[in-house]
């Protein structure tokens, strides 16, 4: 069992003093100023129970826990649509400059031109990459940007005295899409994918009525496919007075290949922790960016960062932005991650960025080819053929039918090979699916080793299904009973 830091507590263990204490009594012998300012009845009765440990205890404890984590730094981690690419170390270093870390968000613009310049440069670069006109760096995550985008659409429609209530979302969409639609007070209309894994145009057309505020597309979609009818879908939506929102989670496939703005997108959010290599952090903090067309620019949230004619960068607030949807968070954005994303773009430059999409595609196509051609007969199928962009979907339905071994079991057995499994059971459109995205930063050797591991698990699933179904065998802990955990949730330690 991983020990909790509390298990190392020893009462009375002195905690290091990181700063001087402000003395309770003054040299003049006056009373404790605290007694005047904070009456006893407003104070805590009992202290909180927190660890009582030395700094060495802290370091050893978290060091031990870190060794129980798999990470991009330790192994290939090809989660589909997560873009687990290498995070260059320089990013942390540049973000750690005291000139960035010590700055307060409410200092005057003249005193934070360095920070505002970072944001302006990043905004400009992302506008260039998306082919859109204006950018906000306020979203804390992709989903935050989705809701923001939908609220912007709502505001645009309101400015036209229009009130629409529905958003079309493909069945392959990430769960945040319909959840964001609900956050905007609207109703999701799910549009089925055809056998080819792309939006069914007839179904789309029937669903597109005057009550549709927007369509949300992920490009390429979560099947890893570049929809051939993107311009058609956008034209149909626009003719209907609906806006076109692109979920940019899969932007890694498009860098150097295609541009949202050129293909009809009115808005596109980006996940800086995916495409732009800021660390995933075990579940954030990431950062989002929302890029919009000039028509939507007036509705962007507060604050906006713009450049004056003389080069001075300033923030605009509510009074300057009469049509803004307002604020969706405190301050200006997840700034430290904006520095990291900018350092990534500067380091790759035009040539490097333009190669990301093609290299990511090549890696995915190669791995799919290896799996399709070498998987034991009847175990794995590629429901959409071999036309993937940066990620692909394979189904293990055949394996489940023949041997009873599920995608989950294969994922768990992969852990014993020291690699992280692909995404399982997403998208929801394909049964027993794996969604695999190698990214452009894995070497041929690593990808071959991963393919070898996956293929050997498939073979093992045929010859020795029990071993696969009871995996993992070599990890610190086995499969945890999540059902029991949810039935009787224990969400903190009791003392």
């Amino acid at each position: 069992m991983p020990e909790l830091i509390f298990d190392a507590s020893r009462p009375g263990r002195p905690s290091p003093s990181y700063t001087h204490s402000f003395p309770a009594s003054t040299p003049e012998g006056a009373s404790d100023p605290l007694d005047e300012t904070i009456p006893r009845e407003l104070r805590r009765e009992a202290p909180p129970i927190l660890p009582s440990v030395s700094e060495l205890d802290v370091v050893r404890h978290f060091n031990g826990l870190s060794r129980m984590n798999m990470s991009v730094d330790s192994a290939m981690y090809p989660l589909g649509s997560c873009t687990m690419k290498y995070n260059p170390r320089i990013a942390d270093e540049v973000a750690s400059a005291p000139g960035f870390t010590r700055v307060h968000p409410l200092q005057e613009d003249a005193d934070v031109q360095g920070c505002l310049e970072v944001m302006m440069l990043l905004q400009d670069a992302l506008a260039e990459l998306t082919g859109l006109d204006a950018v906000t760096l306020t979203p804390a995550a992709g989903a935050h940007g989705e809701l923001m985008g939908l609220l912007i659409i709502r505001a645009l429609l309101a400015s036209r005295d229009e009130s629409r209530h529905k958003v079309l979302v493909p069945d392959s969409a990430h769960g945040t899409n319909p959840a964001s639609v609900s956050g905007a007070g609207w109703t999701t209309v799910t549009v089925p994918s055809g056998q080819d894994g792309c939006v069914d145009l007839d179904a789309f057309s029937s669903a597109l009525d005057r009550d549709v505020a927007a369509i949300m597309l992920t490009v390429p979609n979560t099947h890893g496919l570049f929809e051939p009818a993107l311009r058609t879908l956008a034209d149909m939506a626009h003719a209907n007075g609906s806006l076109v929102y692109w979920d940019g989670a899969n932007m890694n496939a498009l860098l150097g290949i295609a541009s949202p703005g050129e293909l009809g997108a009115d808005l596109c959010h980006l996940n800086l922790h995916k495409t732009f290599a800021t660390p995933h952090g075990g579940g954030g903090p990431g950062a989002g960016a929302l890029c919009v067309s000039s028509e939507l620019e007036p509705f962007l949230p507060v604050p906006r960062v713009i450049r004056d004619h003389d080069g001075f960068v300033r923030r605009l607030h509510g009074a300057d932005l009469p049509f803004s949807i307002g604020r969706m968070r405190g301050f200006s954005g997840n700034f430290a991650n904006l520095v990291r994303a900018l350092s990534y773009i500067l380091g790759l430059g035009k040539e490097g960025i333009s190669r990301v999409g093609p290299d990511a595609m090549l890696s995915a196509a190669y791995m799919l080819r290896r799996l399709v051609s070498e998987a034991p007969a009847g175990t794995m199928s590629a429901p959409f053929g071999e036309s993937c962009m940066h990620e692909f979907v394979v189904s293990l339905s055949g394996l489940k039918e023949s041997r009873g071994v599920r995608a989950l079991d294969v994922a768990k057995r992969l852990l014993d090979h020291g690699v992280h499994p692909p995404t399982v059971y997403f998208p929801l459109t394909v049964p027993e699916d794996l969604l695999l995205e190698p990214t452009e930063t894995e070497s041929l050797a690593t990808m071959d080793a991963y393919a070898d591991a996956l293929l050997s698990v498939l073979s093992e699933a045929v010859s020795d299904p029990e071993t696969v179904m009871s995996a993992p065998h070599s990890t610190a802990i086995g499969r945890l009973d999540e059902t029991a955990a949810a039935r009787n949730p224990i969400v903190r330690e009791q003392f």
Binding site: S15, P33, L34, R231, V339, K412, P489
Partner: protein
């Protein structure tokens, strides 16, 4: 790889996926790649273009505080095993992240006095918006009362989130509109509030109960080491920003939001929640639990669209709380409170400035220069700034009405007495240098 695919070059591969007509119209207008050394120097130069004063001369707060950041915090969160891991979708190889999430939830539960805490949100403002939604869902009511003193950015954020759902946000001293009885889902109280004032949570609890409403308290985790735990004092939901717990300010982000609630509200809680679980051999481990609340399962019926949270920032806070412990955190809180009290007493004794409010306060206070205008305040702060002191935030700049003559000043454990004395001397000199003639008075 290309030969394995039977492709002569990468262009051929791309053309099998993407129609030529959909390809980029032109090359990107981006600069050429910079080697790492140049990236480093370019960004270092930008960092130099920001004004940073000595830590002990920085008195800016307003929701982003100048506490000391222990080196051990950055050391742990820089570990690639934590920072380059993903959300724990395979718990067997994510016990590092999951265990720290459980520890975080435990520590925040202790601080807030609420039994249930999730594994983090984006920031204080958006976390409070989610708390508002919890109360609306739980009660089925669409009115929310907002007590005086809520951070203006938090209030603006609540408005943006509330608008599509027809939730009304009304000031809490409202007695009702058009004779209709008030039926609020919740009272939202920030304590310590935007001006540093400490409120009586028990009294707010009684008031809310009188209306059958929930009590939502927005608070700061450092304050909770000294002041009454909001959950213990009767709050149903406690939300706020965790940046004070050992995270660098970094121009406002990323910090993290925290969200805590009573046992009864657990299933209304959005976001990721870590729980204890066992494996087949009886070993104990941790998993994200109650996932059926979340977007990846409930999609349009999820209580929130939140997916990625701010896990690494929560880890930083966990390291901070572990390294300091209850004693260390109380010391930080007491030192902050004493230093703030000392500074305010000295300001009133030796300058024309006066406290804007009489209430008990923690780590922050508003001072006013009676009869001064916003430009007067700006002039004084500019002189202080030239002397290397960021003396506070003029409330006129934050659009807080009726306080054009006031400055918001935050004092923490990083301000020793000598710095505070220097502040007062400088403030007195700057005020008279700006030609101000005192007129006394206290609100």
């Amino acid at each position: 790889m290309l030969s394995a695919l039977g492709m002569p070059d990468i262009e051929a591969l791309i053309s099998t996926r993407v129609p030529d007509s959909d390809r980029l119209a032109a090359e990107y207008a981006l600069p050429a790649a910079l080697p790492e050394a140049d990236v480093a120097s370019f960004l270092a130069a930008l960092a130099e273009r920001n004004l940073v004063v000595d830590q002990a001369d920085d008195y800016l707060g307003a929701g982003c505080y100048n506490h000391y950041v222990p080196a051990v915090v950055r050391s742990v969160i820089s570990d690639g095993s934590f920072s380059t891991a993903y959300t724990p979708y395979q718990p067997e190889v994510s016990q590092g992240t999951l265990t720290t999430a459980f520890e975080f939830q435990t520590m925040m539960s202790e601080l807030t006095g609420c039994p249930v805490v999730n594994s983090s949100m984006y920031d204080g403002a958006s976390s409070l918006a989610e708390a508002m939604f919890m109360a609306v869902r739980q009660t089925g009511r669409k009115q929310v009362m907002v007590c005086d003193g809520l951070h203006p950015e938090y209030l603006e954020t609540l408005r943006t989130y509330a608008l599509p759902h027809g939730i009304s946000l009304d000031p809490s001293n409202a007695t009702g509109t058009s004779g209709a009885a008030l039926e609020p889902a919740a009272f939202i109280l920030q304590s310590p509030d935007f001006f540093g004032r400490i409120h009586d949570i028990g009294a707010a609890r009684e008031r809310a109960s009188g209306y059958g409403a929930l009590l939502v308290v927005a608070s700061d985790p450092i304050s909770m080491a000294l002041l009454q735990a909001p959950g213990s004092a009767g709050a149903d939901i406690v939300a706020g920003d965790g940046g004070s717990l050992g995270l660098s300010r970094s121009f406002g982000g990323p910090s993290f939001g925290y969200l805590a609630c009573s046992q009864a509200l657990m299933r209304q809680m959005p976001g990721r929640i870590c729980g204890r679980a066992g494996d087949a051999s009886g070993r104990i481990g941790y998993v994200f639990t109650l996932q059926a609340r979340e977007q990846h399962i409930r999609r349009e019926r999820a209580s929130s669209n939140i997916c990625s949270n701010h896990q690494l920032a929560a880890l930083g806070a966990t390291v901070y709380m572990s390294a300091l412990g209850a004693d260390g955190m109380r010391d930080v809180a007491e030192s902050s409170a004493r230093a703030a009290a000392y500074l305010l007493q000295a300001i009133e004794a030796r300058t024309p400035w006066r406290r804007a409010f009489k209430a008990p306060f923690f780590r922050e206070f508003a001072i006013r220069l009676p009869g001064a205008s916003a430009p007067d305040i700006a002039r004084v702060t500019a002189v202080m700034r030239q002397n290397g002191i960021l003396c506070g935030i003029p409330l006129a700049r934050l659009g807080v009405s009726g306080l054009d003559d006031s400055l918001l000043v935050s004092v923490t454990e990083v301000h020793p007495r000598e710095s505070l004395d220097r502040y007062v001397d400088s403030l007195a000199a700057a005020t008279s240098a700006c030609g101000y003639l005192p007129d006394g008075g206290e609100r």
